[in-house]
């Protein structure tokens, strides 16, 4: 049973609870902490919230949830981001991956594993991109072969490589896209697997990102044996699995990111001299965030009213990137020498976040890919040359 009737009441109850438990939830490190500290903090917070039921609202009962609208978990994520209790990017993997398991795994598997993701005892990653497969996801090559006849096989053997897999080296499981059709079968020959990261034959090599953080990794698969009941969706039906992530990524995750951006712009506002130049920069960044927030809100209202989200969320995606750039460009212009020369924890945090913010036009479909989609699907401009 959900304890509050409306989203607004839920939000109020949640904030009251978070106020009371603030000390217990707060990170123990100063500034942003190391990646290991951040992950430990997130898992600790998830465990506390699961224990107190907050992490269970908005998730179906068959996977350990307490039911209620998905908007409830969106509120939770946004509240945590607004209070700086965990990194919204790391937390968003819950929102991206749990629904995939709920919709595409066998009910038994979903019931077994989803609670562990929610309660902070596990982390999962998303293995889509490959060295030669970025924007054109349908060209992926990491191969899965059935042992024997594919229709009766109980096991599959996976060989290949993934890259830029966020938090792979912290993860217990991976939602993995593989090629199961002929090499040129594009999106019709892809199968999704739910793979345990401790399966023999998997090697993870962390990669240092542009901001010095080892947040993503290369993942190598060398004769990795996975049982058939770990297939998500159907054989050669992996494209639908990949695409199903979109509505969650483009609603709930965005709302959490947006909450964080408001919090950062507020921090920036308090750190800056109140000159007209600075006010104009802050004002303009705020316009970007407001445009983004109102758009995201109307998208989520449509989702809650039963709409299927599609190409129009490319607009939300472009606006999120614009908002992210606006806040951190403002930081660069307002905090003199902080991003470039300040070695305190304060400088380190702004520097790390500034550099990370550049990825907003890259991951989850690049800015150009979004514009291609908008042109073809929303403006009906036909195909490119």
């Amino acid at each position: 049973m959900v304890r509050s009737a409306t989203t607004a009441e839920f939000r109020a109850d949640l904030h009251a609870w978070l106020d009371v438990h603030e000390a217990e939830l707060a990170p123990t490190y100063r500034g942003m902490g190391t990646l290991d500290e951040q992950i430990a903090q997130m898992q600790r917070v998830k465990a506390i919230l699961y224990e107190a039921d907050w992490m269970r609202y908005g998730w179906p009962e068959r996977v350990g949830g307490l039911g209620g609208a998905a908007a409830l978990r969106t509120e939770l994520g946004a509240s945590l981001a607004a209070r700086d209790l965990m990194d919204p990017g790391h937390f968003s993997l819950v929102e991206v991956l749990a629904p995939t398991l709920i919709d595409f795994a066998t009910p038994a598997l979903a019931a077994e594993v989803v609670p562990s993701l929610l309660n902070g005892s596990e982390m999962w990653c998303q293995g889509f991109s490959e060295p030669e497969t970025g924007s054109d996801l349908s060209s992926l090559r990491c191969r899965a072969v059935a042992e024997g006849d594919p229709s009766t096989a109980t096991q599959w053997i996976i060989n290949g490589q993934k890259v830029w897999t966020s938090l792979a080296h912290f993860s217990d499981r991976c939602v993995l896209l593989t090629r199961t059709g002929p090499p040129d079968s594009k999106h019709l020959g892809i199968t999704a697997f739910f793979v345990d990261m401790d399966t023999p034959g998997i090697t993870v090599r962390p990669i240092e990102m542009i901001n010095g953080v080892r947040e993503f990794a290369e993942v190598f698969f060398d004769d990795v044996v996975v049982s058939t009941d770990r297939i998500l969706g159907s054989v050669n039906g992996g494209w639908a699995v990949a695409m199903s992530i979109l509505p969650f990524e483009r609603s709930s995750c965005f709302w959490q990111r947006i909450a964080y951006l408001y919090q950062r712009l507020q921090a920036l506002t308090r750190l800056s001299e109140p000159t007209d130049r600075n006010a104009e920069i802050i004002g303009n960044a705020f316009l970007e965030l407001h445009a983004l927030r109102t758009r995201s809100r109307s998208t989520q209202h449509r989702l809650a009213a039963g709409a299927t989200l599609g190409a129009e969320t490319s607009i939300d995606k472009v606006l999120v990137a614009a908002g992210e750039h606006a806040v951190y460009n403002a930081a660069r212009r307002l905090l003199h020498n902080t991003i470039t020369l300040d070695d305190t924890v304060h400088g380190e945090q702004w520097r790390t976040e500034y550099l990370y913010s550049r990825s907003a036009t890259i991951y989850g479909g690049t800015a150009e890919i979004q514009r291609n989609i908008i042109a073809r699907r929303l403006l009906n401009l036909g195909d490119e040359r």
Partner: protein, 326 residues
Amino acid sequence: MDPDESELLTATVRDALAHAAPHASTGSAIDALLAELGWSDMLASAPSEAISIVFSCLGYANAASSALDDALLDALGVDALGVDAARCVVLPARGTDPPARRDGDRLVVDGIATVRAETASEFVVVVDGAAFGLPAASVRVASITGIDPRSELHRVQFSGPLPKRLQELIVERSADWTTVVARAHHALAAEMIGVNRAMLELACEHALSRVQFDRPIATFQAVRHRLAESLVAIEALGAAVDAATEEPSPILAMLAKAIGGRTTRTVAAHCQQVLAGIGFTTDHAFHRYLKRGLVLDELFGTADDLALAIGRTLMSEGSVPTLVEL
């Protein structure tokens, strides 16, 4: 108003304005048409929604009108009808400050007004929390040609003894300039949605029909991305105006207007580039929208003015409020 009702009303107003052949129609003809459509009843029963719908349709049709006077008088609680003709509101000549000030027991007014300036019985100004009515005969009115003569604006000036307070005659309440500004911001932002949608439609039509290098220019990614960028800006503006419509508040309206100004610059620039030579002529409709957009950005504060004002407020309060919730 539920979504179906508002869609129906939008279609009705849009079609009526389209049939009136707006490119040849005058502000007073549009006013007559709005009256026929029941504009004043709409405004009385659901002001926010009526404004959002009617102004975006006006923008789309590139129509001049005096609907803004009605919207602002409604916000002031002043009857739109004066003694023997409609009242006309004096708008700021620049920014959001009231266009009138007291100088001892005299009143000095320098502002602009809609097409209603030509027929008004009385000009309404707000000074120090009170609305005053200036008899039309005492006001100097000159029509403005400017960049967009079709917007039919007028320069309005007055200097003389303080006239009678209006609300003593009409309603018992103070005239709040903030409410007037919020109304104007909301209406103008909605009008900009229409202006921008029209520009984007013209540019998309052109992109699909214009052939160069043996194919429609819509097949070139550089062209497609400009048009996509325009749609993103317009949809964001639409969401900001919706938020201001749902909850009439000065800050939400001001944000919508500021976003409107920015959107108009983005969309106009991209669409003008895509339309290229043909869009550079007065034969093509684009120029009317470009010019209207420039005028609308100017009225009640440009995007730059408003961004600065908002930024100052955020800095002095040390807070960046989220304003809208799920």
